[in-house]
């Protein structure tokens, strides 16, 4: 008995890996269909903020994630973009992460046409900018000093929607979707410094860390992880990858919890005997 239990504790971890593989693969092939019930306050706040913006206002959507965090963040930015287009807001898409180019392309290939939006009139995409602080600071006085061209090297100033845009004063909100610490920079260097409302979409892991900023209202709203994306999709009633993804996560989470409890029970039995 004791030996078996001891063996169980030191089980080859590859068996655990195999179990996890199946627990994620199966829902992909055959979804369970358990959807999110409640909406977290951060998501609701973000939704309300965007919902309340007057038609025609301009928002910045900073897509600062690369494929490594895309499964969680891509559905978030898609939901925000859809919401903005539904509300007839103008969107400036930018990025400070080199790896995000392909992801932005994927969005603008698919989403705008669903809502009949035109490039230059309803949204623009700015090129990748490596130096975050420089750009964040510069845009407070004049966007065009740092972004004179869009991602296809066209003069940014000439686009219809950019005619009335000069600096942060003309921006109604910033939404930074990111898996890095860039949201902190947006809060510190833009939100706090120039008073632009900043909202964020982050991975589930960093969500916890933004507690202080949320509590202080330095962040007006926060979408966390795939669950946040699923909730946002529900709010705008556009189910997408967030909703289907959350299904696959159910079992995997349960597995982690069961493993922790199981190994501790085994340990307890070993100690008692």
């Amino acid at each position: 008995m004791k030996e078996t239990l001891n063996k169980l504790l030191k089980i080859d971890r590859r068996w655990l890996f195999l179990l996890l593989t199946f627990s994620i693969l199966i829902p992909i092939i055959k979804p369970i269909g358990i959807s999110s019930k409640s909406i977290s306050s951060g998501v609701q706040d973000t939704y309300n903020f965007i919902e309340k913006l007057p038609e025609g206002s301009t928002i910045i959507l900073s897509m600062d994630y690369d494929p490594s965090t895309a499964p969680e963040l891509h559905p978030q930015s898609a939901a925000i973009l859809k919401h903005a287009f539904k509300k007839n807001l103008k969107v400036i898409i930018m990025t400070f992460l080199a790896g995000s180019g392909g992801l932005i392309d994927e969005h603008i290939r698919n989403i705008p046409q669903q809502y009949g939006k035109e490039y230059g009139k309803d949204y623009v995409v700015l090129p990748y900018m490596p130096n975050v602080l420089a750009a964040l600071t510069q845009m407070s006085s004049d966007i065009y000093a740092i972004y004179d061209k869009d991602k296809d090297d066209k003069i940014l100033k000439n686009f219809e929607m950019m005619k009335k845009i000069k600096n942060y004063k003309d921006i109604s909100a910033v939404i930074d979707i990111t898996g890095t610490a860039l949201l902190d920079s947006w809060i510190v260097f833009v939100g706090d410094k120039y008073g632009v409302p900043v909202m964020g979409g982050v991975t589930a892991i960093s969500q916890v860390g933004y507690g202080p900023y949320l509590q202080k209202k330095q962040l007006k709203g926060l979408i966390g992880g795939m669950k946040g994306a699923a909730e946002y999709e529900r709010l705008i009633s556009e189910p997408g990858k967030g909703t289907s993804g959350i299904d696959a996560l159910n079992i995997a989470h349960l597995l982690v919890i069961l493993f922790i409890i199981f190994s501790n029970i085994v340990l307890l039995i070993l100690k008692l005997s």
Partner: protein, 222 residues
């Protein structure tokens, strides 16, 4: 010689440090102009720092191949990977897509760089499972708190957790989301704030040390 080797670099760090620091307190247009240019400078200088990395990398693997150390053959893959992306970039003129069509660079991003980095990142999921099983030991009260907070967050993150909670604890009149939010915004924030404050001061002091040339490990030895 000491002047150009030591004193001028220290003067540079001091001058740019103080001026950049001051620009935070000077609203005048001149200060904005300064910041604008210095940002561009930083962009350019930092760009060259990456070439340092490239040269180090090539040198390291060149040595491996030259000495025919164990597994030197794999070092060839380093050059191969580098070449593929570089050629792709040159052919595509640095653009990921051109008129909505994906370029060779975009292709290699989607099918080489991205799968590698995303997969490496996702391997973490497997490691979380094995950490949970092998080292998540509830031996003491603090460890128990760690477990409880983790448990609530995990349950609160998944719809299934909500369902389980509602089945078992509906009588408490709270939802798991409430508890999760409370943990995030109250005790967990207190914990983070406690870590944050000392680090903030530490970072500020380090900045001071750098500006005043007290910390100069990065300059190397004379």
């Amino acid at each position: 010689m000491n002047l150009i080797k030591k004193h001028i670099p220290l003067a540079i760090v001091f001058v740019f440090g103080i001026m950049t620091l001051a620009s935070y307190y000077v609203p005048h247009r001149k200060s904005e102009n300064y910041l604008e240019w210095i940002n561009i400078w930083q962009n350019i200088v930092a760009a060259f720092a990456l070439f340092l990395g490239a040269i180090s990398l090539f040198y390291a693997h060149y040595k491996k191949i030259e000495r025919k150390v164990d597994g030197w053959g794999y070092s060839l893959f380093v050059y191969f990977g580098f070449l593929v992306i570089m050629v792709a970039a040159i052919v595509s003129d640095g653009k990921i897509s051109d008129n909505g069509k994906i370029t060779f660079l975009g292709w290699s991003f989607n099918n080489i760089y991205n799968p590698l980095s995303a997969t490496m990142f996702s391997v973490l999921a497997f490691f979380i499972i094995s950490t949970a099983y092998r080292s998540f030991r509830i031996k003491s009260f603090p460890a128990f708190l760690l477990f409880i907070a983790g448990l609530v967050l995990m349950l609160g993150n998944i719809p299934l957790g909500e369902i389980i909670w509602d089945k078992l604890f509906a009588w408490t009149n709270t939802t798991i989301a409430d508890i999760k939010n409370w943990i995030i915004s109250v005790p967990s924030t207190a914990g983070k704030r406690g870590i944050m404050i000392g680090i903030a001061i530490g970072a500020a002091v380090t900045s001071l040390k750098i500006i005043f040339g007290i910390e100069r490990g990065y300059m190397g030895k004379d």
